[in-house]
Symmetry: C2
Subunit: 432 residues, 2 copies
């Protein structure tokens, strides 16, 4: 980690800088080609890409019920139990996000309300590879189910033997998701966008992925499909005061760093002792970490920043707008109240980010790259639309009508005014 002691405020913006994304134009061009190919050739294109990128010849692109049954039998009982518990916790917290809004009479006879309606067709993308992210499937599948989305399509790349990872299939079965497509990368996103014989087109696409998947999701928005949020490398900012346990802080920083070489890791503290001891702990823990190579690379770009006060630390964090914010301080509630930009916040010394990544109940699909300034993480709301309704009675029209007439004429929109005037005349003639 690079250490900065009491940097001047004029330097903070530089310290909050994320690594700039590399030139994306080449990736965009390749993704565009894949979209056109999938649009034209459909399933045949998906099979060709599975051959090319996943090294497997697929007949059926859909996972069969037999494959699911066989996969479930392979998942160890302890892991099944853990996933069920995580599912229960995530379900409980997301269910609490249901809102009940009563109709509001804004004027006598003028009633307005909102109705939550699920997005009808959603696509969930789950990456494959060395670490199959069944936890992400939980994080997306639970709110999709709670929202009541009628059609949920899961796409995930096939393994070398043509199967889908058994824990992914177990989790899908737990969620009641049966439309599972063996397709990964930009081609999966293209298929969800336009549809193929095997893959239903969807209205909104969720899920993480590499830079091709991210570029494909951005391209999908040009075809009228919505996406969960813009994506970037995962990141954590830890605010640690002198009460912090350096071993815990080091473990939290490392669990972010092991995600990938481009993970962003920042430690902010008002104690140089904590910074020094955390650095020593990182070295110690790295020695026995399986993914040490990845973590070491991420740490070369990471920063430890010594600041003077809790207020300074909070201000620095709000400017950075981290995906994950850990408040490893004695009185986290006070700081927590002042957070204006963060994806998810972890309070106190016994609340590791890992808990929220898997099982505390909060969602782990969160805004990165500073988007916590203007986006929320995935929640039940992400799978719902709120449609507004209104009903006006004859009495209500008498109340609100003249207001509308006056405003419409002032905006030069006479037909708007007349839509009210004609009705007011009808009410008047009926009341005579």
């Amino acid at each position: 980690m690079q250490v900065f002691q009491y940097p001047d405020q004029t330097q903070w913006a530089a310290l909050q800088q994320r690594a700039a994304a590399q030139e994306a134009q080449e990736i965009e061009q390749r993704v565009l080609g894949i979209f056109q190919d999938v649009r034209q050739r459909g399933d045949a294109a998906l099979r060709d890409y599975a051959q090319q990128f996943d090294g497997v010849q697929l007949q059926d692109l859909r996972v069969t019920p037999e494959e699911i049954t066989a996969a479930v039998a392979q998942v160890p009982a302890e892991l099944q139990t853990a996933i069920r518990q995580a599912h229960a916790n995530i379900w409980k917290f997301h269910a609490s996000q249901r809102t009940e809004e009563k109709p509001v009479e804004t004027m006598p006879g003028v009633t307005c309300w909102r109705r939550s309606v699920p997005v009808q067709r959603v696509g969930l993308y789950i990456p494959g590879g060395t670490a199959p992210l069944f936890s992400t499937l939980l994080m997306l599948g639970v709110p999709a189910r709670l929202a009541g989305c009628p059609e949920v399509v899961l796409t995930t790349p096939p393994q070398k033997d043509g199967s889908v990872n058994s824990v992914i299939l177990f989790t899908a079965q737990l969620l009641g998701i049966s439309t599972i497509i063996k397709a990964g990368g930009a081609q999966a996103i293209a298929a969800l966008t336009g549809g193929t014989d095997s893959v239903p087109a969807v209205d909104k696409i969720f899920g993480p992925g590499n830079r091709y998947v991210t570029a494909a999701k951005q391209l999908a928005t040009r075809y009228g499909v919505a996406i969960d949020m813009p994506a970037g490398p995962s990141e954590v900012l830890v605010i640690a005061d002198s009460s912090a346990n350096p071993a815990f802080v080091a473990a939290d920083l490392l669990s972010q760093a092991e995600h990938g070489p481009d993970s962003q890791v920042i430690l902010v503290s008002d104690s140089m002792t904590v910074i020094e001891q955390t650095q020593a702990e990182i070295e110690r823990q790295l020695a026995t970490l399986p993914r040490a190579a990845v973590a070491t690379q991420a740490l070369t770009e990471s920063r430890a920043i010594l600041l003077r006060t809790p207020e300074d630390m909070l201000y620095f964090s709000n400017q950075y707008a981290p995906e994950h914010l850990i408040l490893a301080v004695q009185h986290p509630e006070q700081l927590a109240e002042g957070v204006t930009s963060a994806g998810s916040v972890f309070l106190g010394h016994y609340t590791p980010e890992a808990a929220g990544d898997y099982a505390s109940g909060t969602n782990h699909t969160l805004p990165t790259n500073g988007y916590a300034r203007n986006y929320s993480g995935v929640s039940l709301d992400s799978f719902l639309k709120k449609i507004t309704y209104q009903r006006i009675t004859a009495e209500g029209l008498l109340n609100v009508g003249p207001v509308v007439e006056t405003m419409a004429e002032a905006e030069g929109l006479s037909a708007h005014a007349r839509a009210v005037t004609l009705r007011l005349e009808a009410v008047a003639s009926q009341q005579q």
Copy 2:
């Protein structure tokens, strides 16, 4: 209007087609140039564009308190009263969207909650021109205020004499918005994106505009700024049964058509009589409509579609996903329950769209171009982020910790597991 009687379901998709947007590449290129110019030259660039596009030489880009006071005096008392009433209604309905979510204990000692935090800096763009949309300023300003956004910046193009429309200024004052910038078009969006000496940079940009403004908002998203939603021409779909009043239906269709030549207008009915009488009413009302030329042009592309049943009409509407849906039927509640995609819904014969455009209380910034499939209209939520929090006690860690360890190891993320293990060991040693 073009009339289609009992079209086969295979033809519905064609009837639901919106007019394709014209080639946008040239607009994008010009907007990109404007962004670069504003980034480099700041206020000087804004002054040059005001000269070029608005025909006015500006010294101060910010509206002064004196200008606001002078403007307010010019607004007729009746219009002031109407705007105050609309403000009260919109405020009341949007205030009802506040939610209170209590902390949830997902397992003993594991507590999760969400906190609503306002987007810190928001920009509201209000077009100028012949019809200054002070109603849109209400629709954006009220939820921004309710959310508590600390910084609200209004940009709107100057009039030929260098002033800002007096009703816009009155409405801004009513909303307590004092940062008002004389800038329109793509250059205003560019200024809100990157900031200039006079214009604060913002986190999220709201508001309608022409194709340059729309392209500029899309470009802004590449610089990390969020926008309210993708924009397209305004549209209405009316479902009318034999109980409908053709004069009302015609007036509603015309109030959509007068917005612009590209407005989308669709009438769906199970009564050929209603369709025929509505057409006759349109002709009659057009004769005395100030904006008849615009409306006539929009109507050439509009469609009246005769279908057999209420179910067919609802299905057609849901597939089209209209911005505005008017249910001009005898029992609108039944149909209303079946709506899966629409921006805002108007129930019954005395509920014109114009009421929702101005003063019923619902928002009029709504998804167009089929985006009602996957987007909600602007609401209080549009100005808030929901940050998730969690706090875990020693007891909670004993409960959730083993679940996290098992799942993290199964995903191959050992540092995640260790962040829990280290803490569990500390808890165990303290309990001895």
